[in-house]
């Protein structure tokens, strides 16, 4: 399981994917209580991370120039 420190680095899909894994693990139902609780906590954190990303995301638009350089795209 990833540490909270890694959270900011997680992309939406990564976080969403991990959330799915957490749910799968919980649904297996074979984890001790303590691990269950920390899995649940992790799931909640991932959910909040995804929500924040969705709400605050701003499309990043760049331009690939003929020389192979990448600039910001002004539209």
């Amino acid at each position: 399981m990833n540490k909270d420190l890694d959270l900011d680095a997680l992309s939406y899909e990564q976080a969403f994917e991990e959330l799915k894994t957490v749910i799968d693990q919980l649904e297996a139902g074979d984890k001790p209580l303590e691990e269950t609780l920390s899995l649940y906590e992790r799931g909640q954190t991932l959910f909040r991370h995804c929500t924040t990303l969705l709400e605050q995301a701003e499309l990043k638009v760049q331009q690939l120039n003929a020389d192979g350089a990448v600039d910001d795209f002004e539209d």
């Binding site: 209580l33 609780l37 799931g43 331009q63 690939l64 990448v70 539209d75």
Partner: protein, 413 residues
């Protein structure tokens, strides 16, 4: 007019024809020629006029000849763009004779810019060729990733298409990174620039999905997307390609080659990404699922905890003591019940005895006239119990009398 009647004119040279008869005959000849009834004629438009009737009259000419043309109102209304004087066009229709004017003319039903026919032939040729090569095969179409992180876009950096695409992506899926590779999308340089843009995006950016787009335009405007090199670049793209060229009704070779064809650039952007709202719904669903899964685990833990608790209680010394105490209580109550029973039984027996005793009370017998005879405190039951001269006490119901034995005789009197 039928052939048989027409043929019958000529074996009688003496008979003259009216002008109308001649023109009608010519008309019949022309109208019976299938080539003349379904013909494309190219030339330059002149003397074009559309009077109030709405019919369109013009002359089609080249350097050596001219042809009168008519297009009826209902056909005029159907044309997407009408020619002007000087336009080089190709006109489709049927040749017939206008009897009143003695003119054969083209009754037009379709007009297109000159060269379009050649373009179309070229389009069909290339389409068949690439199709035969397998560039359009359904089996080779790759799935479009559900949520791309990097989206490559090949289009003009200044057209309406890029604005539509970016607006759509901002609205639906702002999580993505978009890299635009600018390319001319019309003109001679367009195919080469489009090919380069597709290739360098794949090499340098490696996007998860690639949009190849252009806004609406005439068939010539869209022609770069019918270029063989463009089709091959799309086919060779590492990233799956969504094409969005022109409008709904425009189909280009690029569309056939792409992994997914969108009717417009906006639609291409929509097909490339999920919708934010859908994602939010999905996320909320996941959260509910997370909660349910955790709640279920906790609930089952709680249940097994309470099971363990019960087992623990059953096996603890205090439990055993409690159990023993309970057993003692039960025995005690059992004993008590037995004792009570015994007492009740004894009481009943006692009552019986008392009644018996009452029945045996000698006083009662004395009442009935019997007497108790004693000699010196001993009961006299037999004659041998006394000797003549003994003092006897005779007790009767209301007291006692004293008597003396006079004779100790036989038992029967």
């Amino acid at each position: 007019m039928h052939m048989e009647e027409q043929m019958s004119f000529f074996p009688q040279p003496a008979r003259s024809l009216s002008v109308f008869e001649l023109n009608s005959h010519l008309r019949g000849l022309i109208e019976s020629d299938p080539t003349l009834q379904d013909v494309w004629v190219r030339g330059e438009v002149s003397n074009l006029s559309i009077p109030k009737s709405g019919h369109m009259y013009f002359t089609l000419k080249d350097s050596q000849a001219s042809l009168r043309c008519v297009m009826w109102r209902n056909q005029v209304l159907r044309q997407t763009n009408l020619p002007q004087d000087g336009s080089a066009v190709e006109v489709h229709g049927s040749i017939s004779v206008y009897e009143a004017g003695g003119q054969y003319q083209l009754y037009a039903d379709q007009i297109r810019p000159a060269g379009e026919g050649l373009l179309f032939q070229e389009f069909i040729r290339l389409k068949n060729k690439l199709e035969a090569e397998g560039l359009f095969d359904e089996e080779r179409k790759r799935p479009i990733p559900a949520a791309p992180r990097v989206i490559g876009v090949v289009t003009s950096p200044t057209g309406a298409a890029i604005r539509d695409i970016l607006n759509t992506l901002r609205r639906r899926y702002p999580l993505a990174r978009v890299v635009v590779a600018p390319a001319a999308v019309q003109g001679d340089a367009a195919p080469m620039e489009i090919v380069q843009a597709i290739q360098s995006l794949n090499e340098i950016i490696q996007p998860d999905v690639l949009l190849v787009c252009r806004g609406g335009g005439s068939i010539e405007d869209l022609w770069a997307f019918n270029d063989e090199t463009v089709a091959r670049a799309i086919f060779g793209s590492r990233a799956p390609v969504i094409s969005g060229v022109g409008h709904e009704t425009d189909f280009t070779i690029a569309d056939f080659t792409a992994d997914l064809r969108a009717p417009t650039p906006t639609a291409a952007a929509e097909l490339a990404v999920p919708d934010r709202q859908e994602l939010q719904d999905l996320l909320l669903e996941r959260q509910a699922q997370l909660f349910r899964a955790a709640a279920e685990v906790i609930e089952s833990q709680r249940w097994s905890l309470s099971q363990s608790h019960h087992r623990l209680q059953r096996s603890s010394p205090s439990a055993r003591m409690a159990s023993a105490r309970q057993k003692t209580d039960e025995l005690y109550r059992q004993a008590e019940r037995a004792i009570q029973h015994r007492i009740a039984l004894a009481r009943t027996q006692l009552q019986g005895l008392t009644q018996q005793l009452t029945a045996l009370n000698p006083t009662n017998v004395l009442e009935r006239g019997y007497a108790v005879v004693t000699r010196a405190g001993s009961l006299v039951k037999r004659t041998q119990d006394v000797q003549p001269g003994d003092d006897l006490k005779i007790q009767v119901s209301d007291g006692a009398v004293h008597a003396k034995v006079t004779e100790n005789g036989e038992s029967n009197e």
